[in-house]
């Protein structure tokens, strides 16, 4: 089992009445709410938290890309990854990822990921998300009708650029290049492992399994919906004879403390901030026409599995969030037990843990990272030891489970 710390780098200082006064945290969130001095502090604290997570026992650190929003301040995760490549020593750097359809030519992603892989010594995971509809359609103006075609073409070009050892020409529908000849090239052979962050689009499952990529389901909707989606993924995977849990990952918000009461007191407001402000997305921005295929829309109508923002949920309390499994919170042993259940239920070999969420201040985030990494993570690592992880960077460390003898000790 691999457990990684995921950071969204949220804007933590939205006003208390943000939800009442604004229709969306994304796309048209008012710019006067952004303070660059605050962002200066947030970026540096985010990097400190990620570096700390890699030092105290996480297997890897994850970052991602979003645009024009207060939910996640990393339009270019590669800039963060560059700092992490230098400041971390042995953990995986999981960029989840670059929305490859947005870059023209997408070769830019092949180049930057190759740089990161070389700088980090082969510790990069290359994430290729389609990207949320807010980011790709409404912020970056990509036509939803052609976004997925463009995405698949970009993936083909990047992989070929990484693996083809001769200059080649590329005659795509969206990108035409007479000379493709990547300098630099990735350190990992043939290229960094590819993870596909998904929000539940059913056609992504088939494609991901056929390509042999990791499917990383990023959901905040808790384990019940998570299980519906992952059951869908595994059904497709099994039909291709695939059952290795490392083929899949899942994101989970986690808060650890000395007692349930202490956890509620310390983290409650930050969990509520995350769900009630960070996910306060105007419904009209949650699904540009054509972003989802008809098959996914139909599946969504029947099972309600796919919307990123699914309208604006009613205001949720900490107790709601814990009861629904949106957040797993408690003492180290309680959290370990619940996470073990999630890992087994969803059959995932990669658990991405969100330790900093919402308005959580730096000190508390550091404490949460430390307790999770030292008192929870080591007690989950033994899971799935009978399987081999083919989706782990060649240059990243493989840590041992608690109690396991380490060679040379």
């Amino acid at each position: 089992m691999k457990i990684e710390m995921f950071h969204l780098c949220p804007y933590r200082d939205l006003p208390p009445d943000f939800r009442e006064r604004n229709r969306s945290v994304w796309v048209d969130v008012p710019s006067h709410l952004f303070d660059a001095q605050t962002a200066h502090r947030l970026y540096n604290e985010t990097l400190d938290e990620l570096v700390y997570a890699s030092e105290v026992g996480y297997d890897g650190v994850c970052i991602n890309e979003h645009h024009q929003n207060a939910y996640g301040l990393m339009p270019s995760p590669n800039i963060m990854a560059a700092a992490l490549a230098r400041q971390t020593k042995d953990t995986a750097i999981i960029v989840l990822g670059n929305s490859i359809a947005l870059y023209n030519p997408p070769l830019r992603v092949a180049e930057e990921f190759a740089m990161l892989d070389c700088i980090s010594g082969g510790r990069l995971v290359a994430g290729f998300p389609v990207g949320s509809t807010m980011d790709t359609n409404f912020c970056y103006g990509m036509n939803p009708a052609t976004l997925r075609d463009r995405y698949r073409e970009a993936e083909e070009l990047i992989i070929k650029a990484w693996t083809c050892d001769e200059v080649f020409s590329f005659d795509g529908e969206y990108t035409q290049l007479r000379y493709v000849n990547l300098w630099p090239r990735p350190l990992q052979d043939p290229h960094p492992p590819v993870w596909i962050p998904g929000g539940g689009s059913i056609e992504t499952w088939e494609w991901t399994v056929q390509k042999g990529y990791n499917y990383a389901y990023l959901s905040y909707s808790g384990t019940a919906r998570g299980k519906r989606v992952m059951d869908g993924f595994w059904k497709v995977a099994n039909s291709h004879g695939v059952d290795n849990p490392y083929h899949a990952g899942f994101l989970q918000l986690v808060a650890v403390g000395k007692s349930e009461q202490e956890v509620a007191d310390k983290f409650g407001a930050h969990g509520e901030y995350f769900y009630n402000k960070m996910l306060h997305i105007y419904e009209g921005f949650s699904d540009a026409p054509g972003y989802r295929t008809l098959d996914t829309i139909k599946a969504g109508l029947l099972a309600q599995t796919t919307a990123f923002a699914g309208g604006d949920p009613v205001e949720l309390t900490w107790n709601d969030l814990c009861e629904q499994g949106n957040i797993i919170a408690g003492t180290p042993s309680q959290v370990t037990e619940q996470l073990e259940q999630v890992i087994k239920d969803l059959r995932i070999g990669h658990l991405m843990v969100l330790n900093q969420f919402g308005s959580m201040p730096h000190d508390l985030a550091m404490e949460n990272i430390r307790m999770t990494a030292t008192e929870v993570v080591p007690n989950l690592r033994h899971l799935w030891s009978e399987y081999e992880d083919h989706w782990w960077p060649q240059g990243a460390v493989v840590r041992q489970p608690a109690g396991a003898a380490v060679a040379g000790d």
Binding site: G141, N143, A145, T146, G284, P289, G290, R292, I297, L302
Partner: protein, 272 residues
Amino acid sequence: MRETHIPVRGGDFAVDVFEGGDGSPLLFLHGIRGLQWNGFLERLSLEHRVIAPCTPGFPGSTGGERLQDVHDLIYFYLDLLDELGLHRLPIVGHSFGGMIAAELAAVQPERFSAVVLIAAFGLWRSDVPALDIFSALPQDFTRAMFYDLESPAAKVMTANEPEALTEIDADSPAGQRTIDYHLDRAQSLATVARYLFPIPNRGLSKRLHRLTQPTLLVWGRHDTICPPAYGDAFQAAIAGARLEIVPEAAHMVVAEQPERVAALIEPFLAGS
């Protein structure tokens, strides 16, 4: 009214075509809501043989995925007109269809004897606020389409809208209708987005000078989706074009004021 399915390009497309009336031919291109044989087309068919194809990508016609952009769509329409043997006739386009009508009239001015553009997309003015139809909530979208939501015209078009989305029972007829409604709506809007997202400007302004035919522009006074200021913009770009603003109408001016719009079009076509 007769409905036929016309194969185009060796069957790559099967195009749903409504046809009614016995007069001289008239081509009608539908708007963002898709093709309905409504009172307006019925009225036009009293004087004309109205030929109204459903654009591929909208429910009814197939092959929409073969068309990537406006360029592809124009050539598709030229093929369809060849298939239908239509070589000289007036073209009337509403909304999205107005944009396509203008594009076709610019590509082959000799083919179209007269041009009527009704609440047409195709130009963009950042100083004119218009509703973003791609992020509008369904209820806001519907409200913007009509001047009077309580009018019979609006009632007809909103009659099939399901209640707020709740649990859907796919096995019940009502549940199946709800699913079909959402899928049809999603498919139509996705097709509109292909040609109009994120803003409806594909360079038409660089081609409008080629519209040398008699041109009539018709706009609903209360259109917030394609406000009347766009009628002004079309008029400024097309030599000799006449602009008529229709009261008590919004974007669905053809459905809301079929008589008034037809009463503008008929004498215009008779005189041109």
